[in-house]
Symmetry: C2
Subunit: 453 residues, 2 copies
């Protein structure tokens, strides 16, 4: 029995905290356990719950390739199936099963449970998962699902309607997407459950679909030809065509953290960061990732969120439209988390072709950059804090606070932090940021410093 | 006849846009004329109205000494009486009259009209001002005031009650501060007027009060001994004790721009800067001085304002308490406007005694710094844009984009922009920002470059 956490997507639903390089499932906004004040990301919370249910050894994470560093910084030793590009859930599930088979050696007769990471649930949810295989098998079903017993007549969720109410394992007769409230109430009286987006499938069953697209069942082949798969959801491509679907009922807390209003209500505290609310505020949550304070006076039913990328002020009844509102924002993220440290844009004084970009860069103790050069810009460094070794055209230079360095275009360089190291970097030229990086192909950790020089 | 614009105060009422170095009267939020989309500050608007009423030649501005550069950058050729420190309105009026007498040579028999700069009024208000002197004289009154005919039963203003309703020039019987609505309605039926905070006084009458505090009537003497004057309002010290007060009635638009809700409603557009509001927003104004966008979804009756100093989200019914809320914020302003350019703090990585401060500095074409050194920090400069001459320990260095300069502690330096010039400056040491500046006493414009060297 294997488990796949589907963690793709680069949603802007939680803008300005979520962006291309930091999708919502990696934001550290939720608490790992209900009685904890600590904060973790949705991925971390689900991973911890998988650990507690003793399932994590057979669990992989499937995510976009740009998210690899982020996942590794949040979950040590995660096994990751990497989507070369975002192409909806059917390709992701096929890729996941291929990873299980090709890389982990899972038998085709084995089963895999695919689950999303953006649901907020309790321990008992995870206790249910291993029982899916048994239920699918004993009913000779094609797919097994988890249905949450509705807490109220929500119109934002999908419902699945069972053939019969009484059975423990329910045969599903049909699905209803986002019914209005009256319809939802009627469905609930018929024993309908919320669709939790969990699927238990037989690995070989999914892998056999590869041939439809003239692909083999190998992970590498599917990765290489990923663009040939249709960008289509698993629901549409597989679930809706399936012969026999069964569901296990989950009777506990379940919530999809897909909008700011849902997320805000799951926060363990009303404020995060430098925030001041007056006594007239009511049902308002504020998250501030900036250094400067946010003051809220008389705010009612609001979500306020600020990051380097922007500031959101939203009435909780209007958070569903945020993704739409910000879809045309294509500016580069001002804050990036990497495996080796962080990048923060402080100033962009570019004018047309002439790029002038100032960033603050932190490199964690012991981490290093590649050895590389830039063709179209000079880099001007000012050391703020810590110690590092700079290799510049084969010369080693010790960097200490107050040191200023010019790295002219064409000059090969690399930096390694001897302790946590911070510097300000200004790019002047016709390129800036993460472009125009020409790496020389060897790595610090594979070669000694004297060999580089 | 002279006019004094009282422009003191360092109010935090319009935080985060107003701060110690940029009080609310200098924020460019209002329009100079009712049909204009251009924006100007309150001081600029009043100055323009004085010009249109042909009064500006006999007008001075009285303000705190830290505001001198700001006034000069907004109003060319302003005559400014400088308060050495903020000590409420009575000392400011005494200082103003001394300036008129000592510096401008005004006779003691002459009259001065003192007026605040944070009222939003129409042209006809300024047409009334020259008539105050005649009214005061003909009634042999001590002080002449302007009373605005109330538009509604406002509880936030002060009222003055006339002895008789019919007269054009009204003798004032009493003042009522911030009555409740019912009381305000009763007062309005008695012909009460809003107190516009304008006083017409005889210059000699005010100057004679200096002796009470053992001061002469000279501007320099009063400035030098300003701390010996009581920090007390003109209303309390003079108006309440006056024998005979008259008022002229002003029948036009009048509004005190003392709170965010009042200011927001006076803005010519609902948004300023990079702002996106969805179609559900109602009666909401947003001012964004940051580069990153502000998105407002479903905001009703809100004021949102963002600057380098912080972010405000306020229901318009709760903007009166903002000053109180932010009174403990003592961080240095992150953005400063000077006569010669602007200073913007990009990053403060200081830890305890060790200061590491990064700022972006703009110097206008032709402007220069003093020749100075720092005892307790190094300065590291990276040129972004434009051209300048740096004099460093007597050597002239041409600064162009991409140049990096270290100025070590003790090294004397000055910079003059040859065209608009921008650079990033990092301070590393035990001092930072506007402290630890040791000027060498000569000025660029008094001496040729060769003489400096």
């Amino acid at each position: 029995m294997y488990y796949v956490l589907l963690s793709g997507g680069s949603g802007k639903r939680l803008w300005p905290l979520s962006n291309e390089v930091r999708p919502k499932q990696y934001l550290k906004l939720v608490n790992p356990e209900s009685n904890s004040m600590e904060r973790c990301s949705m991925v971390q919370r689900v991973w911890k719950q998988m650990q507690e249910a003793d399932l994590e050894k057979h669990t992989i994470i499937t995510a976009g390739c740009s998210q690899e560093e982020l996942i590794r910084s949040q979950i040590k030793d995660a096994k990751i199936a990497l989507e070369p590009e975002a192409r909806d859930t059917f390709p992701a599930v096929l890729l996941s099963c291929a990873y299980l088979h090709s890389i982990l050696g899972a038998h085709k007769e084995e089963y895999a449970v695919i689950l999303p990471v953006d649901a907020y649930t309790q321990e008992s949810f995870f206790v249910l998962l291993p029982h899916l295989k048994e239920a699918v098998r004993s009913f000779n079903a094609q797919i097994g699902l988890i249905g949450a017993k509705p807490h109220y007549a929500a119109s934002k969720y999908g419902y699945m309607v069972p053939l019969e109410q009484k059975q423990k394992v329910k045969l599903i007769s049909r699905f209803v997407e986002k019914p209005d409230e009256a319809e939802a109430e009627r469905l609930i009286r018929q024993g309908a459950l919320w669709n939790c987006g969990v699927f238990c499938v037989q690995i070989g069953d999914i892998l056999s679909m590869a041939s439809e697209f003239h692909l083999t069942e190998s992970y590498e082949d599917i990765r290489k030809n990923y663009h040939r798969l249709p960008a289509i959801s698993f629901d549409y491509q597989v679930l809706e065509k399936a012969d026999k679907l069964i569901a296990l009922e989950y009777n506990g807390y379940w919530k999809d953290l897909g909008t700011w209003s849902a997320m805000a209500e799951q926060m363990s505290t009303n404020t995060q960061g430098n925030v001041l609310m007056d006594e007239h505020c009511l049902n308002t949550q504020v998250i501030n990732e900036l250094d400067c304070p946010i003051v809220v006076a008389g705010g009612k039913n609001l979500v306020v969120a600020a990051s380097q990328d922007g500031i959101l002020v939203a009435d909780k009844n209007h958070t569903e439209g945020i993704k739409q509102l910000v879809q045309d924002f294509h500016s580069n993220p001002r804050f990036e988390e990497r495996r080796w440290g962080t990048l923060q844009t402080l100033d962009d004084s570019s004018e047309g072709e002439h790029r002038v970009l100032t960033r603050k860069i932190k490199i964690y103790d012991g981490m290093n950059s590649s050895y590389h050069h830039h063709e179209n810009r000079d880099e001007l460094w000012t050391v703020l804090r810590g110690q590092a070794d700079l290799i510049l055209e084969g010369n080693r230079i010790r960097l200490l606070p107050g040191k200023v360095i010019c790295i002219r275009r064409g000059q090969r360089h690399a930096v390694k932090a001897l302790e946590e190291f911070e510097y300000i970097e200004t790019h002047v030229g016709s390129s800036g940021g993460n472009e125009d990086i020409h790496r020389i192909t060897f790595k610090w950790d594979e070669i000694s410093l004297s060999q580089i020089l």
